[in-house]
Homo-oligomer: 160 residues x 2
């Protein structure tokens, strides 16, 4: 197993925790000098704030671990392509490398809708690796949304 | 004084708190049904995290006040055009209206470098009002950076 796969599997384990909470299963780890210094999983519904995306929580922990807002020697692993906010947080934290599990064609900002991570107008550009553990990352999300549809249908039928 | 000017002046007062801490002076308030439910000022250096932008802190407080990650009936006032991360957080929180003091030609994402707040590809678009208390917002930033340059020059001369 490559190093990238090893860390992405840790991000996937975190995504499963979000799943258990009923949140869209997305996980993230931040690695510094070969060690994980920040972990996060999506807690938007659980914490009732749009700020509780996996990447934001992991960045907060990594900054605390390093004692600096600059994460210039870190690599981020995320199971799903980041949104605008998280892409922005990656740029603001000066993270130089991001490894993505699967892409998000409808809302992703690392190449799908737009590529904020590599845009000439900004003062920081990020190197992106895609497709690490892609099938597992994608499958977990598909399973979550399939279950959600079944649940919603059931609730509708029961007149909730 | 218009309602917009009244709330922008509150955001400006918050920006001055950032100034006192040695952080770039940016302030933000979020208004719901005529009342301020979220306040924030830039604390990036003080808190040592890139996540401590004024808008992010104000969104966190507003979500807590409402008990929902959706801020669908809120209006945000910010002294400076938002960055990528904060524009993303505005979209993720579904804030429908943003009022901006002055623009940020080098890094702003509400029309300067890019306009993330009104982009066809995303599932949410924001109505933006610009130029409220523009001179005062801009002047505060200019004064901050002028002082910073003097301080840096002095430190250089003293061989620090």
């Amino acid at each position: 197993m490559s190093e990238d796969e090893r860390f992405m599997k840790q991000a996937l384990s975190l995504a499963k925790k979000a799943y258990e909470n009923g949140d869209v299963p997305i996980g993230c780890v931040i690695v510094y000098e070969g060690k994980v210094i920040g972990r996060g999983y999506n807690r938007r519904n659980k914490d009732r704030t749009s700020l509780a995306h996996a990447e934001i929580l992991a960045i907060r922990k990594a900054s605390k671990a390093i004692g600096d807002w600059r994460l210039e020697k870190c690599r981020m692993y995320i199971t799903l392509e980041p949104c605008q906010m998280c892409s922005g947080a990656i740029l603001q934290s000066r993270i130089p490398e991001v490894v993505i599990g699967c892409m998000n064609p409808k809302a992703g900002c690392a190449g799908s809708v737009i590529n904020l991570l590599d845009m000439p107008g900004f003062n920081h550009r990020v190197s992106v690796t895609k497709g690490i553990c892609e099938e597992a990352c994608s499958q977990l999300l598909k399973q979550f949304f399939a279950e959600l549809r079944i649940q919603k249908k059931k609730e509708k039928e029961e007149g909730k």
